[in-house]
């Protein structure tokens, strides 16, 4: 690491705790969710164990979500998730162009991270989508499935439980896809493991 490196304390302690619990919880939810979804004839886990683990992890992720949600209200971290509608698409395309082409042709990152900018536009939008849309949706639909008596019996000709279950799995699937991309993109940078270290120590290196 050269002398031009600056270290920024990007990830406060509470956020790292939230992120750690969330990571373990989501990974457990994905594995148990796939196990339940795909049937149990040759499965690696017993049905009842998968259901229990899924329920417990779901509740843990929900409680943990409150930490994320409240933390972003009471601390200054919340401002990183605000989206300015003006030039929304332009910024998105610029960052996507950088990832797909620019970074291989010596282009500099169009939105370098600083104390004022923790996320690049693509990162910010995907985090907002996942954390303020998909995760709340799987939490709500998940709790509905935990208390299926609450669910509307029929939506037109469709079973309410069935509809909730399908939407819950679909949203869960997209969160899994997000996780894959999240992990991959985290490896982009000067050193592939650098970002993974940052989320544990809290310090982010700017090269």
């Amino acid at each position: 690491m050269g002398s031009e490196n600056t270290k920024l304390y990007f990830y406060p302690f509470w956020l790292r705790i939230w992120h750690g619990i969330n990571a373990i919880g989501i990974i457990l939810l994905i594995f148990t969710g796939i196990a339940m979804q795909s049937g149990f004839d040759a499965s690696f886990i017993k049905f009842q164990l998968a259901v229990n683990l899924h329920n417990i992890s779901g509740i843990a992720v929900t409680l943990n979500y409150l930490l994320f949600f409240i933390g972003n209200i009471v601390t200054s971290n919340g401002k990183f998730y605000l989206i300015k509608p003006m030039g929304f698409l332009k910024r998105l395309m610029k960052q996507a162009y950088y990832y797909a082409y620019g970074m291989f042709h010596g282009m500099k990152a169009p939105y370098p991270l600083s104390e004022k900018r923790k996320f690049n536009p693509l990162q910010k939008y995907s985090y907002v989508f996942v954390m303020y849309l998909f995760v709340p949706f799987v939490i709500i639909s998940g709790f509905a499935l935990l208390f299926p008596e609450m669910i509307i019996d029929k939506v037109y000709n469709l079973s309410g439980v069935f509809l909730t279950a399908v939407l819950h799995s679909a949203a869960g699937f997209f969160i899994s896809i997000f996780l894959l991309i999240h992990l991959y993109v985290a490896s982009i940078g000067k050193f592939p493991v650098e970002n993974f270290k940052s989320i544990i120590t809290g310090w982010h290196n700017i090269h």
Partner: protein, 311 residues
């Protein structure tokens, strides 16, 4: 014979099948038996004291006429099964002690009823816990009330309707202290407490039949009649919550439901009435998720490749 008579004869010939297709119980108020047996209060002439009298009907002898009209035996008159001597009132007390015809007296060995496999059902029934406990006294009618019986599982395309009807047969005794102790000679088991181990009990009771877990399912019979003792009931979640769900061999066995369970088309998905975790696979969504997953993976690998060569 004048032209009017010819018309009347033609009319009667044409009308005959219509008359036959109607239930003999259409006019319950005028039916010799039902004018009393469908009513809470009966009026009759007491020949001994020579007076018209009114009395309350024994509630166990009141027949559900709507059920009777909708049931499989709607075209049979009461005296087709009950003694003809019942047409007299007061009824002869000894008639009660005469054995009634059993179902197999009509249905057994009859080629017209082959599709229903009554003899196979009887074989299976004789292995069941009901037969072991009370033998021949446990007649078909203990569950299938001959007066109102409808083959719901065969005719209905609605799973919940099938479940409700079927469970109603079990609960008519297993949730009724008097009827239960009549056969079992002991007090009623507490259904809810016995099933405490079962998660989402209410939901299970609404969506699956008791017999799904409490019978030995056989392939060549539509509804298994070998009801096992509770020690042998299914307690393993995977039996139903798996791709080879036993529900496909029982509840979803019927042609109309089976096609729905197997067919992965959008229409089949939209028509689904219930959801069984692990048992229902939707090939369309499955394929779509695989495509999205592998495209993501491919995108990442291509990106990774360029990162290596451009380093």
């Amino acid at each position: 014979m004048n032209i009017q008579h010819i018309f009347i004869i033609i009319f009667l010939i044409l009308a005959t099948p219509v008359v036959n297709a109607q239930s003999v119980y259409d006019g319950a108020k005028n039916h010799a038996c039902l004018k009393c047996h469908a009513s809470q209060i009966i009026s009759f002439h007491n020949a001994i004291i020579e007076k018209d009298q009114k009395k309350l009907m024994n509630p166990h002898y009141i027949i559900d006429t709507l059920g009777l009209k909708a049931g499989v035996h709607q075209n049979f008159d009461c005296t087709d099964c009950h003694s003809y001597e019942y047409v007299e009132y007061p009824h002869n007390g000894n008639l009660k002690l005469e054995p009634l015809n059993s179902c197999l007296d009509c249905h057994g060995g009859d080629p017209t009823h082959d599709a229903y496999q009554f003899d196979r059902i009887n074989e299976e029934f004789q292995k069941s816990v009901h037969f072991k406990i009370s033998g021949e006294d446990f007649t078909c009618g203990k569950c299938h009330d001959q007066h109102t019986y409808k083959p719901t599982a065969r005719n209905s395309a609605n799973v919940r309707e099938i479940v409700e009807y079927s469970n109603g047969l079990c609960l008519s005794c297993h949730n009724d202290m008097n009827k239960y102790s009549l056969i079992a000679g002991k007090e009623n088991p507490e259904i809810v407490q016995v099933h405490n181990w079962l998660p989402n009990q209410e939901l299970h009771f609404e969506h699956v039949r008791c017999i799904e877990c409490h019978t030995d399912v056989v392939d060549n019979l539509m509804v298994s009649h070998n009801i096992m003792s509770k020690e042998n009931a299914v307690r393993n979640c995977n039996e139903c919550h798996s791709k080879d769900s036993r529900l496909k061999a029982s509840l979803y066995k019927y042609a109309n439901l089976q096609s729905r369970a197997d067919n992965g088309s959008v229409r089949a998905i939209l028509l689904n009435e219930s959801y069984v975790i692990g048992a229902q696979q939707f090939p369309v969504l499955r394929k779509l998720s695989f495509i999205i997953f592998f495209m993501t993976l491919a995108g990442m690998l291509i990106h990774l490749f360029f990162r290596f060569i451009k380093k």
